[in-house]
């Protein structure tokens, strides 16, 4: 009615806040308090159009509990099954932890930016992950394995608190066989642990890479990423070649709720995967 606003393209837009029911196909325990949930849309016709990129996330909804942003941890080449590796950390994820195969959760997504795999073609790739931070990088690993020849050396530097907290333990052998150099460390060893002990960024001391031809992708606690970036830059890897995945409180994932801002960046829109050069002015700012 009013000239103040043109309305032609806005009639009944679909509400991006509506979840779609998905059925839990499998629950695979990964570590204490961490499981991978494989989901398929209840209406299979909805699932057929679903595609995602490595690094993107879904909003997982449980009625009466709420919604959480969870990265996709499965193979983007098989988008009919949506894998989410979930750590039981808050009220919603703990409730999800009580679900069984066949139960329903709501799914919205995929949202956010992706790891720039196409930019990594022909280059070495150093994947640096701490704890549950390996989950959003698993689609990178699985995509790399699908066309291993497209990349130079591919290294995974991964750490967890204890050996029992290591994720995807049954898969790491296949990753190695597929041509990925895997270096693992734990903060706290037990008597059976024969590997490295120490923080993840220290694994950089065990590798040697050509800084001009290397891309770094890292996800984990911010303090870990900070030092991983430091080690990468110390090896003269340009900051433009470093990508990080960030986490913030998120209520909508579509740019409305305002919760996920860090400076001018909405983690749900420009993130979660960000080029370090772009986020550097605000990254690691205390309480920002």
């Amino acid at each position: 009615m009013s000239v103040a606003f043109s309305t032609s393209d806005l009639r009944t837009p679909v509400d991006p806040m509506l979840p779609r029911p998905a059925v839990i196909q499998a629950i695979k325990p990964e570590a204490y308090g961490v499981s991978t949930f494989s989901l398929a849309f209840a209406d299979s016709s909805e699932g057929s159009g679903y595609r995602f990129q490595p690094g993107q996330f879904n909003m997982i909804y449980l009625p009466a509990f709420g919604e959480v942003a969870i990265s996709l941890s499965s193979d983007p080449g098989e988008p009919q099954v949506l894998g989410h590796t979930i750590r039981y950390a808050g009220s919603v994820t703990r409730a999800i932890g009580r679900l069984k195969v066949g139960d329903i959760v709501g799914v919205r997504g995929p949202y956010g930016s992706a790891w720039p795999l196409e930019k990594a073609v022909g280059k070495n790739l150093v994947i640096v992950a701490g704890g549950i931070g390996l989950a959003p990088l698993r689609p990178v690993i699985l995509s790399v394995l699908r066309q291993r020849d497209a990349y130079g050396r591919v290294l995974l530097l991964y750490g967890a608190r204890t050996p029992a907290d290591l994720l995807y333990r049954d898969e790491i052998g296949f990753w190695r066989e597929g041509g990925i150099e895997v270096h693992i460390t734990v903060d706290l060893a037990d008597e059976n642990w024969k590997g490295q002990v120490g923080v993840v960024p220290q694994l950089f001391y065990r590798i040697r890479v050509d800084h001009k031809q290397t891309m770094v992708m890292t996800c984990g606690p911010e303090i870990m990423m900070r030092f991983a970036i430091y080690e990468a830059l110390a090896r003269r890897i340009p900051k433009e070649s470093v990508y990080i995945s960030m986490e913030r409180n998120m209520k909508c994932a579509v740019g409305f709720c305002g919760h996920c801002q860090i400076g001018p960046t909405f983690i749900c829109k420009q993130g979660p995967v960000l080029n370090f050069a772009a986020i550097e002015p605000f990254f690691g700012k205390e309480d920002f």
């Binding site: 009615m1 806005l10 029911p21 509990f65 409180n249 919760h259 920002f288």
Partner: protein
Amino acid sequence: MTQSLPRVAASVVLPKAALAKLFENLRAVGFTLVGPTVRDGAIVLDELNKVQDLPIGWTDEHQPGQYRLKKVRDSGYFEFTVGPHSWKQFLFPPRQKLFSLTQTEGKWVIQPAGSLAPRYALVGVRPCDLNAISIQDKVFLGGEYKDPHYALRREHIFVLAVNCGKAGGNCFCASMKTGPHATAGTFDLAFTELPEVFVVEIGSEAGSEMMRDTPWEAATAFDLGRAAQVTQRTERQMEKELRTDDLPRLLYDNLEHSRWDEVATRCLSCANCTLVCPTCFCSTVEESSNLKGTATERTRVWDSCFTLDFSHVHGGNIRPSIRSRYRQWLTHKLGSWIDQFGTSGCVGCGRCITWCPVGIDLTEEIKAIRGKVTP
């Protein structure tokens, strides 16, 4: 009585008594009229049933942390500035149901919120608040995802703007270039109040249509001159100002300025500023269910970056201190908003200054950060 209708972009003169007919015309085509009215010692925005519901003969006085209503002798219709409410409550309701969900025998039935909303005629929108609506348009409709609840309300509104005849003690729209005169293209009708008549700019076909059967007359050059003087006088009256040419850089470069510590000793983190702000858009979601959890309703509610919970992630809060939360609000409002939406998040309405219980004035904070502290 004139039979024809004024053309769009024309200016006409309307006797004040004819406002009742205009209200009637709006109501006849189905609008719910909302506008300023006096309640509990403040001028709030609520449904208007008749012209007399307007705060006729009232004015308001604003100081940092202070607001008072006062009777004025000349019975002007729009002698006040802005109250604690903004129009966002009508377009972006404080509580918006998103959907309800029932679970029976392992099946989900999701019922989206209805697509029925009142068609609002916003009566008495100040130029700063018109700009605030344009800013929220960018947030809710300008991105990849559109908010259907906002769109539904927004597309049907009728805007009767009123240019400002006085500057409130906390107004600085001139600095933000959002007033005191409404920009053509953003309203259906824009009034400038003179002692005996309104000078009305016709902003749209709809605006023209609502003038039907009112005793309007074409405005003379003399009328237009007097109307122009009203907003020019208001602009001269405006004492508060905010320099914006060095934003957002100034804020990005001063994230560790000592002023953040200082303001944190005064700020109560009460969130008043974000609730009265006409552009603040942050929200959270609430879940309510029956005891078995089989029937659930999900609701979006206004939220504020001043709450501790706002930045919660597992293991803690990103912004645990008042210093960090005030810094977030001001840095976003006057700084990063420009990078995000191509416009400042501030329209200079001054509400956050008036309704701050301790009278924190963001224009003073910016001056302090720039290095000019006024004692």
